[in-house]
Symmetry: D2
Subunit: 399 residues, 4 copies
Amino acid sequence: MDFAPPPKTLELVARYRAFVDEELLKLEPLVLAKPFGSCLPVLNQARTQAKVRGLWAPQIPQEHGGLGLSLVELAFVGEALGGCPLGHWAVNFQPPDAGNLELLHLFGSADQKERFLKPVVDGAARSCFAMTEPDRPGSNPTWLETTARKEGSQWVINGHKWFTSGADGAAYAIVMASTNDEGKPHERASMILVPMSTPGVSLVRNLPVMGEAGSDWASHSEVTFVDVKVPLSHLLGQEGHGFTLAQERLGPGRIHHCMRWLGICQRAFELMMKRAVDRPVAPFRALGQQQMVQRYVAESAIQIEAARWLVLKTAWVIDTQGQKAARDDIAMIKVLVARTLQDVLDRAIQVHGGLGLLDDLPLAWFFRHERAARIYDGPDEVHLASLAKRLLGARGLAR
Amino acid sequence: MDFAPPPKTLELVARYRAFVDEELLKLEPLVLAKPFGSCLPVLNQARTQAKVRGLWAPQIPQEHGGLGLSLVELAFVGEALGGCPLGHWAVNFQPPDAGNLELLHLFGSADQKERFLKPVVDGAARSCFAMTEPDRPGSNPTWLETTARKEGSQWVINGHKWFTSGADGAAYAIVMASTNDEGKPHERASMILVPMSTPGVSLVRNLPVMGEAGSDWASHSEVTFVDVKVPLSHLLGQEGHGFTLAQERLGPGRIHHCMRWLGICQRAFELMMKRAVDRPVAPFRALGQQQMVQRYVAESAIQIEAARWLVLKTAWVIDTQGQKAARDDIAMIKVLVARTLQDVLDRAIQVHGGLGLLDDLPLAWFFRHERAARIYDGPDEVHLASLAKRLLGARGLAR
Amino acid sequence: MDFAPPPKTLELVARYRAFVDEELLKLEPLVLAKPFGSCLPVLNQARTQAKVRGLWAPQIPQEHGGLGLSLVELAFVGEALGGCPLGHWAVNFQPPDAGNLELLHLFGSADQKERFLKPVVDGAARSCFAMTEPDRPGSNPTWLETTARKEGSQWVINGHKWFTSGADGAAYAIVMASTNDEGKPHERASMILVPMSTPGVSLVRNLPVMGEAGSDWASHSEVTFVDVKVPLSHLLGQEGHGFTLAQERLGPGRIHHCMRWLGICQRAFELMMKRAVDRPVAPFRALGQQQMVQRYVAESAIQIEAARWLVLKTAWVIDTQGQKAARDDIAMIKVLVARTLQDVLDRAIQVHGGLGLLDDLPLAWFFRHERAARIYDGPDEVHLASLAKRLLGARGLAR
Amino acid sequence: MDFAPPPKTLELVARYRAFVDEELLKLEPLVLAKPFGSCLPVLNQARTQAKVRGLWAPQIPQEHGGLGLSLVELAFVGEALGGCPLGHWAVNFQPPDAGNLELLHLFGSADQKERFLKPVVDGAARSCFAMTEPDRPGSNPTWLETTARKEGSQWVINGHKWFTSGADGAAYAIVMASTNDEGKPHERASMILVPMSTPGVSLVRNLPVMGEAGSDWASHSEVTFVDVKVPLSHLLGQEGHGFTLAQERLGPGRIHHCMRWLGICQRAFELMMKRAVDRPVAPFRALGQQQMVQRYVAESAIQIEAARWLVLKTAWVIDTQGQKAARDDIAMIKVLVARTLQDVLDRAIQVHGGLGLLDDLPLAWFFRHERAARIYDGPDEVHLASLAKRLLGARGLAR
């Protein structure tokens, strides 16, 4: 066993950290204060810098123009980037594009790769992923209202989606739709590539999430599909494989989130410690000399470090044995890191007092926007129940 | 002992509930979606209705034009109003005015009452309270940077305040300033009435709190005072009594908050239950049939009910024995109810899934805006430590 | 509303406190160190004193020789007694006799009262209650293995019970048995009075609970019934009413436990504070000056006070509106007080360090013996689920 | 990075597991039910088997007759053994001997090794470690009451110790005593080897810990030293180095405990799952089909797995970089694993209902005996505060 990251990884991470420190942190206040879309001209310079520095698309296979890092390497990179709300976006490692690219890489036809994968890898376009529906439980992806029916050479899609992240400004959506309501539950859905400019696609609104409707990439939209027609060739993967592809997509997606959340945790932790050191509660007595604050610091350190190693180990399992072998690990870290995130942010805010509530610091921004972490990609309760059922099932519990 | 509220109280509360249901809930979406200031013309109609219905200023003594309710009565009223973000404001029971009026009622001169108390009681003006400073710990009100020095017949005030709630649009501030830096810690500060139009008073900005700078009453401002001059007669109470007055103000202020928070808890709890009943997780299976959701419901019910009775008991102690006798009780409920609030909101959001994150419901609004509840009017840590020190001190622990 | 206990109650409680302080605390070390049975000769002197002081059987109606206190009064008395493991026993207010007497008082025939109620009220005998079975879930009292069949003029009872508290030395058991396996679930069981000397009744063992098998009243036994025959007149209440009677018995039983647990909480809390004041962690620095310890003290104070008022309110609801009206309240306090108990004991032990682990103090004794509090009379999970189902059911959730 | 244990380790662990399964579990009921000392004749056969199987003294360097395993290897072995209360003892890897042997190995003179180390390695004798004192805080080892003064060629020791584990039957104690009350705090104490048969050494009592005074190795004693005289050559290491040696001893001691606790966690977890699968709550419905139980299972799995990897990583840091580099890690796992232990045991007991409280299973035994885990070798609060102070100190916080 060897818990030391290889020097090459450390060197790479140091370059990502330098990028964050030198290029991104100065842009952060912009993003905390203004709509993302309005900042794009300035922010795009950071993307250019990421390319110049050779940090672009770390998760994309080299043959498609990325760095082709392993998941363990990405864990370190993801944490380094995650502390800044701009981090992943700046190097084209942001959701939902990262997951979409993974799908296109694994299951896309040559044409699909050329038309849909390439421009997103290049940063010329963005994509979105339309699965969640307002009227059906996100926790049950076998039960969709959105349908896609074959008519001649076309799919005709009708449905209502929301939490379609980054739909505002996206070139296309990967739409999850039922193509066979009578099939076995896990074989009903398919994924279809739908340009957002297709007639019948309407962006109803950017959802007002915790005080901010957001814009462009930094938004989550409500989208309707009314008699939307796309060629049959827009099917991604095989018909009826939507659920399987979604699982394929969500596994690494969840671990990418976990890595990013660790970056947020670490950032919040550093801010908490800085405040504890710098802030006097009385002349010559710093906040950090109070035991209650010390407890917050220590508890946070423990939670973060434990979460970090479980994420690294999970990444290693996926790298060496594949995603399926890591199924329980992924469920565990999804719950553990999201909880750690919320706990650490809460303590960091508390230690900052009123300042912690302000968008002057990224703490409040993360607190608001990452309350969602315990919900998206499967709420805590779903992961806990399914993990337990697998563990108990292996010991003989009837389903 | 008698735990039954008198019929008169129940009847009164029913009228407040009817007011909320019939007049306020329809206005709520406005407030969740738009700046408060921009909605004022419509919102003010609700204030008119409150007067028509005889619900105006429940906490104000009858001789000043209010209903003169006891704290126990206000507990029921405060919970009935608290579930709607507009509730307290609509009946002129909102912070910081409620606390300011209390101060003016108890310590104001006849002139001060005429000029500063009356228009706020009438709803013709609003006030604010400038105590917290960015560079000094809010938890230590004996250590202020803001000074007020006598020059001839005037106070000359210099200082930097923030979290001055409702300063935007306020007619005047009660400013807490050091009038004697050399005095005993608890005798250094005084309170001075400062019209916001006085030269040298600058509203720097409405603080961006959790994604929203807000406006008018629904805002928290950063304010500077540069050589601000007001007559000596603007001193509120006695010189050096600022700390004492602040305590006097904060005691009932804290219990008012607790009552209001209980209203938020109950609202969140009702929404959580409604969602659990209405939302299917699969055909013919509601969310509320899941034991994990049942646990959230039951745990919330227990926390709320326990908190409620401790608040009522505290109100009763203050009503019958005065605020000083309730010192420990106030510390207890400040911590307990703020925690209950956060726990219940968190569960309610979780049960709603994505919808819980949206400003379509008041859950996310409360979650964002009431994260502050564990910080303002004394952070949890300060109340816990001082409560413990009093309890241990009574058993002989050296200070 | 009036939160003040009447002077008569305070005076009564003061007498119970004096009894504990003057008569019981000196006997406590005996009970912590030796088998209960072996201490009986000494301990019985305390029972005599209780009678002399007019404190005997506070819960028993005056017509049967007790004090006939209301539940609110018993709440105060129960807390006063609960802090000492001997408290309830010394005044004949201990489980399981208290519950059995309640059943006999409400449902016993004149003969049953004479033969079974009277000697226990007098303290001349003890009883036990045989419901829980090793092979069936205690949480489901409609599903029993023990049967009682009529043969001529007799019941013939066969079954296997455990956690029959106080069976060792008891004169008789109230046995819960299925008298009709085919009936509706809630009408299958009946209660039958069985003298422990009846042939076929075997006390298999006193269960080794947390390091102690105990003896006499302070024990929990495994008991088997093999063709045990008692006259048909030993039926308590009506045939098929076992479940109803059990509910009748458990409601007040649960609140009695809650009152007692509050006494344990308060005792542990006082010990924690005493240790915090008395124990130096360094020269001239007491444990209680550490903020982490202060937090434990304050958190305990809050939990206890909140639990206490919810218990009092529940007692008041039962006194004024009956047990049925308090169904939700009882579920709430069962969970809340048992949790408070465990939390406060845990903190009190932690503050004592190694000493907290020793049977030199009652803390470890309570910690061991009251881990059961979250299990007996319905585990937390059952109360939480059924409370939630009632609350959600009232809002339309299908069962 | 490589998270896979080498095949050699896996093979070794499998042999330890087989030993536990085949030799120890059958003896476990003995130990749960009877005084340890009374079982020794039977238990010693297991020790013989351990030698036969080549599993003896895994932590002892090969030159002294052990297996000389690395800490990472010991982590796996420690977990495999820890699930059975007899595990560590059966292979001579039990506290306090393991720590004492470590000290003797590192700091003992040749004579000391021959006389004190060898017989314990062989299993012919046991030792104990007398540091904790009843009247001084165990958390402050620089402040001892016990003194050792030089008189001629002898140390004269006076003092009062408790929680001297395994003193009953031990051949000697390593006594921590102040040899210079005027020295710098960390240079006051020394360690001295004291045969228990020396005049003046009195074993006052085996402490009654959570219902059990225990005996022989499985006991914790109160010991007094009155004018106890031993030769100057009995000094272990250098004079005034007691504190340093204690740290040296406690670092690996803490990690050994953590490994063992993980074994307890895993055992409790397996028992919890078995019960969830096997126990019906109603006909055809198992406990494990209840979501609340599923949550307990999943939460336990997450906590254990996170704790496990942090322990392994800590072991690896010590193996590769030494104990000092792992200071923060050790503090973290001490707190994290002890908490995990208590949480998992609590849930396992809850899932078992009444059975969980009985000494029929090891759950209650561990629950009682390992409540101490959050206290011994530094209570949680001390580790949390010192960890935070180091972290904050590194960022500039004044001590």
